[in-house]
């Protein structure tokens, strides 16, 4: 007998359009978006501003309805309260009830999530400890910095111990230490068997913690897969650093290189192939220049991301 594992999050040909502005112009925010997120993985949802990340998340949370296609979370419609009980959500740039203290706010969110009355104080304490906010537990949130609000935001998302956590730009407003702590929290969620779906445009975070990524541009999914599949590790270019190249040889070298940068008496050349390396080295020998380094470079996520965004733009995706 085969066991079919249903994806924790799934969208099928998900589209969303809405009318905006005085002339009620129709805007296509999402276009036939397909994605699947499996249980226990950290899925990074990447895209430039305005690509449709937040719209997708709003549909997954049940705050908006798709125009066509459908989305399921834990096998059911996102608006189903049985689903919401098992999902935690952190919105982008969260704004909370500033007249409440951190404890009052977390107790309210726990109550609304169905945490039993007797468990609420313990859960609130546990969450404040997790996000290192015990010192501000009884302060009204009106005085909180953006980073503090972000910490309370993750605490309220986890207060009911959800199986699925959906985070919209969770690293926004955090300093490097805060980002490191957040990454640790996200990784610990995976260790507990939870599924994490988070949107971001900070690529370093994705490279460090994500199992799989999806890249969305102009409302369309342009790439989805494991990072190791997307970034194959193949050598994309070779960087050669030469020292002491005189003027008359420089022109010849620059013709071979894709890119050249001069810094003092150093010349950094980027070439495409092994043959180009040989040609550069031959000229360097003739010019009696010193070879400081030859470094093969594979594609970074940033370069891959930029290339995909650009090509989607050329194809009318942006």
């Amino acid at each position: 007998m085969t066991v079919v594992n249903q994806p924790v999050i799934e969208t099928v040909r998900l589209s969303k359009s809405y009318r905006t502005g005085f002339r009620m112009k129709r805007v296509q925010a999402l276009s036939e978006l397909n994605l699947q997120v499996e249980q226990g993985e950290i899925f990074g949802f990447l895209g430039p501003n305005g690509a449709g990340k937040t719209t997708t998340i709003k549909i997954l949370i049940g705050l908006a309805q798709p125009s066509s296609g459908f989305a399921t979370v834990l096998g059911r419609a996102p608006r189903d309260p049985r689903v919401k009980r098992r999902v935690g959500f952190l919105p982008e740039s969260p704004y909370f009830y500033e007249y409440l203290t951190a404890v009052e706010f977390l107790a309210l969110t726990a109550q609304l999530s169905g945490v039993s009355r007797s468990e609420i104080p313990g859960r609130v304490r546990q969450m404040l400890k997790l996000v290192r906010m015990e010192h501000a537990a009884h302060q009204q949130m009106r005085g909180f910095s953006r980073g503090m609000l972000q910490r309370i935001g993750i605490a309220q998302a986890l207060i009911h111990d959800p199986e699925v956590v959906i985070l919209d730009e969770p690293m926004g407003g955090l300093d490097p230490i805060g980002r490191k702590e957040f990454r640790d929290i996200i990784v610990s969620l995976r260790e507990q068997g939870k599924t994490v779906f988070f949107s971001t445009h900070i690529l370093a975070d994705v490279e460090m913690i994500c199992d799989r990524v999806g890249i969305i541009v102009g409302g369309k999914m342009v790439e989805i897969g494991r990072l190791s599949e997307i970034l194959t590790g193949e050598v994309e270019s070779i960087e050669i650093t030469l020292q002491g190249v005189s003027g008359k040889f420089r022109k010849g070298l620059e013709r071979i290189a894709q890119r050249s940068i001069e810094s003092g008496d150093l010349l950094l050349l980027t070439v495409k192939s092994e043959e180009d390396v040989e040609r550069v080295l031959a000229i360097a020998r003739e010019a009696q220049a010193k070879v400081r380094s030859i470094i093969p470079r594979s594609l970074t996520l940033e370069e891959f991301f930029m290339a995909r965004v650009k090509s989607a733009g050329r194809n009318g995706g942006v």
Binding site: Y18, K58, I61, G62, L63, A64, Q65, P81, R82, K84, R85, V87, F89, P91, P94, Y95, F96, Y97, Y99, L100, E104, L108, T109, Q111, L112, S113, G114, Q156, H160
Partner: protein, 255 residues
Amino acid sequence: MLNRIWGIAFNTFRESVRDRVLAALIVIAILVMASAKVIQPVALGEAEKIIKDLGLSAITLFCVLIAILVGGRIVYREVEKRTIYLLLARPVRRYEFIIGKYCGMMLVLGVSLVLMTAGFYLVLLLTGVKPEPRLLWAVLMTGFELAILTAVAVLFSTFVTPIASAVFTFVVYFIGHSTQLLRQLAAISPAPIVKFIGMFLYYVLPNLNNFNIRGDVVHNAPLNPLAMVLSIAYALVYTFTLLLIAIFVFNRRDF
């Protein structure tokens, strides 16, 4: 369900209590009632009625202001500040949210009514006017008028800005106290369209004059219990209908 509605209602109440606008309105209302002390020496024997009338009118006026100013923004503000995301991402149904908001607002108005009424009876004691329990009937009817008005404010608040909601609710309040004029206008106008609009508004808008028994209470006129019971039933049905419309509108919204 009740637990979630109570959570939202209590939070709405807490928000209003921690907002200075509410406290300011209650204090001003009590000061207005107390100003009757100034009128007393020049009232030529009518002081008792003036003090009672002024007190009851101040309670109604300031509670209506609270319903319009605070009630008109309670849903919109959650949407504008995006706190609604945090609530609706939880197992909170949209109707629970609307009912919770409405109940929270009624809790605010209930507490305001109690505080203002206590202030009113204190003023009566200080000015030597007999604090008759019969005056409370007028306060009770004001409570049911506020139930309708708050439902109007919540309904508008689900789809227009707080300022527009306040203006529209005030217009409903104003016309709601002039529905007899609409009927008369429809009766005397020769134009069929005016007749139609006049009668349409007469039937659709709430007849808030039903809830004004201040004159009868102050002048010791006999009260009509049947009319009062019917008015209360009318308020409950009208409020229920408005909240159903508000839930219908809110259910279809994207955020």
